[in-house]
Structures are given as structure tokens and as C-alpha cells.
């Protein structure tokens, strides 16, 4: 069974053993990494098809992170190439981190570089992160509380007021739907962590 298949089947120990074996056998690290990414793509497809659920995404993300920690130091400058950069965080007043962390993991697995400003993040932290990373074209905001819709809106407004008009803003979280997009002025929303990857790719 290939690394991609093992990862798609969520066989954590088998994936790690095979990765280590291939490294010691002299297989090019980038090829091993790409196999892991292929496994994550299969997981994403299974999730999209209703075969996998959030717990499966979390498990696959954990496996991917573990193997990435082993492979990435071996990649050198080759490993720095990504599809693009996303600034991510949970808005001010909201301390939820699970959804944000899952989006972070799925975006990383999708070969995005993620600038994570954390939870309960003040408006300025998002604006500053975007200014410090002018190549970041997507801002992903997590919001799990209806009482933080105002923070969501304030963040969107601050980004626009800062002149960062070419940045596309995705929002997500349990109580987030099109009505919250309309309320906040964001560009779109994702229902799942996997949606964030698809949407970010479209927006790049």
C-alpha cells in the first residue's frame, strides 16, 4: 500500500514507519511529502463525498503534521514553495481554537503557508499580519459566537479601511452562514474546514 493510501486510511503508525523507511532508503524527501499531500487530497475527497467526517479530518491532519515534522527539515528551499499565503485567526472576544486549528491544518496540508494570529485576536493583529505579508491574498476569520458578529464586522471594515482591498475574506464557524456574510461584509463563508481549502484555492 502506498503512503497516500495509508494516510487516506488514517493508518498513523504505518504511515510514519513507511515515511521513515523511505527516507532511510534514500527516496527524495519531496516525493515522500507529495505522497502525503496526495493522501490528504484523498481524505478531502472522502469528506466531500460524505464518507469521512470531522473526526477523520482531525486524525488525518494530526498524521500529516507528524510526518511533515519529519520530512520538512529535509526539504530545504524546495519545501518553501507554497500555493499562497493565508492569514487566519479567531476574532476578538472569541476564544475557540478547534475550528481554527483544523482550518490551519487543512490549509497547510493543501500547501498553503498559514499566518495564524491566534484566538481572541484584536482587529489590529489581522491588519498588521496582512501588512507584514503583502503576498497574503486571503484572510480567514473564525467566529463561533453570535455575540462576536460585531468583531467579525469590525475586522472586515478595518481591513478595507487599511486599503487592503485586494484581500479576499472568508469567514467560518458554527453560527456562520450567508446572512453573516451579508452582515459582516466578508466575501464568502465556508461550512467546513475542507471548504476553506477549496475557497482559498479559488481566490488565489
Amino acid at each position: 500500500m502506498s503512503i497516500a493510501e495509508m494516510l487516506a486510511n488514517l493508518e498513523d503508525e504505518a504511515v510514519m514507519a513507511e515515511v521513515k523507511k523511505q527516507i532511510s532508503d534514500g527516496v527524495e524527501p519531496m516525493k515522500i511529502f507529495e505522497a502525503c499531500q496526495e493522501g490528504m487530497n484523498i481524505v478531502g475527497k472522502k469528506f466531500q463525498d460524505g464518507e469521512y467526517f470531522v473526526s477523520d479530518l482531525m486524525m488525518s491532519s494530526a498524521i500529516f503534521k507528524d510526518v511533515s515534522d519529519v520530512i520538512k527539515p529535509l526539504l530545504g528551499t524546495e519545501g518553501e514553495a507554497t500555493i499562497g499565503k493565508v492569514v487566519l485567526g479567531t476574532v476578538e472576544g472569541d476564544i475557540h481554537d478547534i475550528g481554527k486549528d483544523l482550518v490551519h491544518a487543512m490549509l497547510s496540508a493543501g500547501n498553503f503557508e498559514v499566518i495564524d494570529v491566534g484566538i481572541d485576536a484584536p482587529v489590529d493583529s489581522f491588519v498588521n499580519a496582512l501588512k507584514e505579508n503583502p503576498d497574503a491574498k486571503v484572510l480567514a476569520l473564525s467566529c463561533l459566537l453570535t455575540t462576536c458578529y460585531d468583531s467579525l464586522k469590525a475586522t472586515v471594515e478595518a481591513v478595507k479601511e487599511a486599503g487592503l482591498t485586494d484581500v479576499k475574506i472568508i469567514i467560518g464557524g458554527g453560527p456562520v452562514d450567508q446572512s453573516v456574510v451579508d452582515f459582516s461584509g466578508a466575501d464568502t463563508y465556508g461550512e467546513t474546514a475542507q471548504d476553506a481549502v477549496f475557497i482559498a484555492k479559488e481566490l488565489m
Binding site: 467526517f53 478547534i98 453570535t146 453573516v180
Partner: protein
Amino acid sequence: MIPDQLFLDRVERIKRTIAFENDRATTCYTGVATPAEHMGVKMADFVSNSDLNLDTTLAYINELNEIAPIDCLNIGAGGNKINVILTMIWLSKVKMPGRELPENSLWQIEEKKVLKDEDYDLAIEQGYDALVQKILPQVLDMGELQEFMEYAQKNGQKNAEKVIANIYPSVNSNNASPPFEILCGARSMSQFFMDCYKIPDKVKAAQDAIFPGVLENMVATTRQTNGMGSWVGGWRGASALVSPKIWDELVWPYMYKMGMTLLENGITPTFHLDQNWDRDIERFLELPEKKFILNTDSMTDLRRARKLLGEHAAFMGDVPPQLLATGTPQQVTDYVNRLLDDIGTKGVFITAGCDAPGNAKFENMAAMFKAAYEYN
């Protein structure tokens, strides 16, 4: 005290709704945090002063009741500290407004890995009480728990009578958490879901070991509070969140047993289902018909559920919290009308999905109950 006839009629209405014999949709209030802003009470005071909490909540419901009758409450009218209640359910620390959070913010769960690897063994060897005794002091000030217990002992009866005097029967008086939710809360969702893949046998052994204590506690607490019903909570065990294997082995058997145990004790189970339960909704056919309630939050498809379950289970829901917070009264009215068009009024309690949010607009709450009451 002798309850008012309207109170007794409303109790009867609850029973008739569960049995699909109600003449119209039954209106049911839920909104633990909702009254504070409308009544001009700081959230920090609202959650820390139990008398103020109850009085404010009742005054808010009374204001709604003037616009459309509030037939019942989902789970009481407050009157004790929410952080203690939530911590007891999930074994997680709750950050509170005016303490760890700004004065007018909502309380929030701080999800951390408190339950250590070795605590699984403690649970397996010594059961529920030992686990709770080990974890609870790490997530809750024991002095606050003591105050909570003393307040309940001193004021429980008086507060219950105050709610009855306001003519609001409560469908549920207890909130019981299945082992999956307890361990998930104490372990943190990320870590616990990993455990379900990596050490499923140990997780199951721990759940089995604490389950007798969970059942005993659930029945005892509901009886102590003279309740008609008890929640059986479904949060992280939702079908959309966990794989079928995890759900079949670690979630459903325990929820089913909790439901059956409540019924055997003459208590009505309300399965409080957050997130989406579509995949497994038919499993509720395993419980006896017209004896329980599914309390959903708008993410489960009630139209599909009605088709699959028929008149097997009463529904309690499911006006979306985001609609109550950001929508207009007309949008709320339209939502309720469309829902009742599609699922009918028999066996239906209309309420907010999950729990009305802290920033639900009063006019939207009123529109929800008015639409349900006036629906023909």
C-alpha cells in the same frame, strides 16, 4: 403551593405535544443568556447573582408572554451559576464575564487537556466519582461549587415555586451528559478524537466504567429537582463530527441507554442535539414512540427527520441563533411558518435552535413565538 390551573393546563400541553395530541405548535422558551441585554443587566451581574438571574429571566419571559403565550420552558429559568452547571456537564473550565472575560461578554468554555493519559486508568479502575473528584478541582473553584450547592439547597424550592407562580412549567430540569461528552470535555476535543482512533478500547473501557455513575447521577438529579424530563446531551458526538464507527461504538449505545433509563424511571428524555445528526437520525426509532423529544439546533434537517421518523419523536427547535441575532421579525416569522408548513404542528415545540443567543433581538424572539402561536 397549589399551582394555577393555567400551569396545570400547560403541563398537560407538554404531555400532549410529546404524544402528538397537541392542537397547535407549543411555544417553548430557551435562552440562558438572552434576557440580560434586553433587560439592561450587565452580563457579569446576570451570571454571578443567582436571584437577579432568575428574576431577570422571568421578567423577560413575561414580556414575551404578553405578546404570545410561552407555554413552557425547555430547561428552567436559570437561578444558579451557569459556569458550575456547564463544568459539571463537561468537566471543562468555563471562563466568565467580569472575571476572566469582559463584563458584557458571553461565558466561554476553555477547552484544555485536563484529563491526563493515566486518568483513563483511574476511571477504569475506580469509576465516575473518582474521575470527577480528580478532574473537578482543576477546572472549578471548589468554594464556588460549595456556594452553588448551598444556594440550591436554600433556594431551590423557593425558586421553583417562583417559576410555577409565573405559570411556566419546564420540560426539563436536568442536563445529563453521556460519557463520550464528559471525557471529550475533560480531554479536549482534538485530543479525545485522536484517542478514539488510537486507543478506542481504552476509551470504551473508561466510558463503561464511569457509565453507572452517570446513570445514577442523571436519575437522582432529575428526581431531586422534581423534573418531568432531562436532557441527554449530544454535542461532540454529532453525526457530522464523528465517524460511523465512533458513533456506533462510543456515542449511540450510551445515549440510547440513558434515554431508556430515564423512561424506565418515568422521566421524559430530551435529546439535545447540536450540529447535524442527519446520518443517524433513524436510530432514534429504536426508542419507544411518542415518549421523547429531539431538540435540534437547525443543522439537522427536520423535514427529512419527520419523513423518516413519522410521529415517533416530538421535535423541539429549531429557529437558527444567527437568524434571531441578525434577522428581522418577518424573516423569523417566515422561517417558523415554512417549518410548520413542512413538519406540521403535531409533536412540535417551537424554540430557538440550541439556545437563543445573548444578542438575539427581542422583537425576533417575540416574532418566533407569535408565529408559532398564530400558525394555522
